[in-house]
Symmetry: C2
Subunit: 257 residues, 2 copies
């Protein structure tokens, strides 16, 4: 298990190529943490734990394990998900599962690792934009896109952080605080440069972060009908609607009078 996400990124330039943000469809094609690439990444980052040697088998099984974990544990939590449930859901034997992990907790640690990596990519991306407003708007967009593709991962980590080692818990809350502080500084920059006006930059920043959380924690709020979850056109529409709603709101909060 990689303990330092930054180092891991530096060593692997595959994750350093820019991600397209022009539309969710474009993002989908360039964001590295999805599909087979995601599970290959997961395999390589946990090569010391995964006993299965051939990448082909390990990647396929990790995918089965993670997807089943999200499905089963979303019902009543990670603790109540037994590895026998997981065995049933994946169609794998207990032994096969234990050749991908060394203990149940590893699954949660892997989720935390990937979400942290995704957050790191989001943070890095924010540095590219030109104006303060563009930086805020693109940070929101990137985070919205990434947390949509990784929705089960973000959701899982939010609810299961408490059952991780304390050190990992602190890392998670630190990421949230960093996210707020990052927005806060961008806002304050804009204020001091006469681009925005607000009396409570911290509150606006916190509101943004909380609305980002709401997006992946309560999908049923925004994406109203349960059907056509996978229709790309409809999904593109939903996510862009939400992005515009958030940015319009922030624009209003930062408007000069």
């Amino acid at each position: 298990m990689s303990t330092n996400a930054t180092l891991a990124i530096e060593n692997r330039d595959a994750l350093d190529t820019p991600v397209a943000l022009s539309s969710f469809a474009a993002f989908r094609e360039t964001f590295p943490l999805q599909g087979e690439r995601l599970y290959t990444e997961l395999f390589e980052r946990n090569s010391e734990i995964v006993q299965t040697q051939k990448a082909r088998f390990a990647v396929a099984n990790l995918e089965k394990i993670m997807k089943a974990t999200f499905e089963v544990s979303s019902v009543s939590g990670f603790d109540r998900m037994s590895l026998r449930d997981l065995s049933r859901q994946t169609g794998m034997s207990m032994g096969a599962i234990y050749s991908c992990i060394s203990k149940k907790e590893d699954i949660a640690l892997m989720v935390a690792d990937i979400v942290r990596l995704s957050s790191e990519l989001t943070r890095q991306h924010a540095l590219r934009a030109s104006s303060n407003w563009a930086q805020i708007e693109e940070s929101i967009r990137f985070h919205l896109y990434a947390s949509t593709l990784l929705q089960p991962w973000y959701f899982f980590l939010f609810f299961e952080t408490r059952s991780l080692p304390e050190e990992q818990q602190q890392a998670s809350t630190q990421i949230e605080l960093d996210g707020i502080r990052s927005f806060e500084e961008q806002i304050k920059n804009g204020v001091s440069q006469g681009e925005f006006y607000t009396e409570d930059a911290r509150m606006v920043a916190n509101t943004i972060v909380v609305l980002m959380e709401d997006w992946y924690l309560k999908p049923w709020k925004n994406r109203l009908s349960g059907e056509s979850h996978s229709d790309p056109v409809w999904q593109e529409k939903q996510i862009n609607n939400y992005h515009r709603a958030v940015t319009d709101m922030v624009k209003k909060l930062l408007a000069k009078r």
Copy 2:
């Protein structure tokens, strides 16, 4: 276990007396769900489950059980809290615990019951105010005050809802949706009466609710220093600061141009 909060309220006029909102200190003195009254209420609402007959003992033990539950389960969740942990933390024997509950799940059900009752009180209170804005402002204030006094309860229910029976889960999300819809309607009323202006009443309403959740889910965000948690003056200041931050923000979002 009462299955219908509304009925229980109708039968018991003690909960119908108005609650003071002029300050948190005033609220503290009139809000019924705290201290001994809270646990007495809990005892009476669960008289069919609690085997202990004398109210004096039952109330004292329920208080010990609930407080210990919040303390232990806040570390790593309700599922990982064993009743042996609870016995150690409360200083009670297994037998004594099981004379207050019939099974472990009862504890979580009691929390859900109280939080739902508190939400019901909040909802009822909202009907008193005169103008649309006063109604919004007072709803926020009431909810903020109540969820501060009952913080561990609200926190617990948010994270443990998933391990409750499905019927209870739906009830919880319904309460959240009702809360959003209630704010949405108040906003729309204000808009149609020319008091406010906004193009997305739903988004504003949702933001309010999400910021209310943030208050009791992440106390470390707003109440910065860990010390003096119980200093009433400092607490009054903190909560009023947050209330003003939220209402200022909502005011800005609903301002006519």
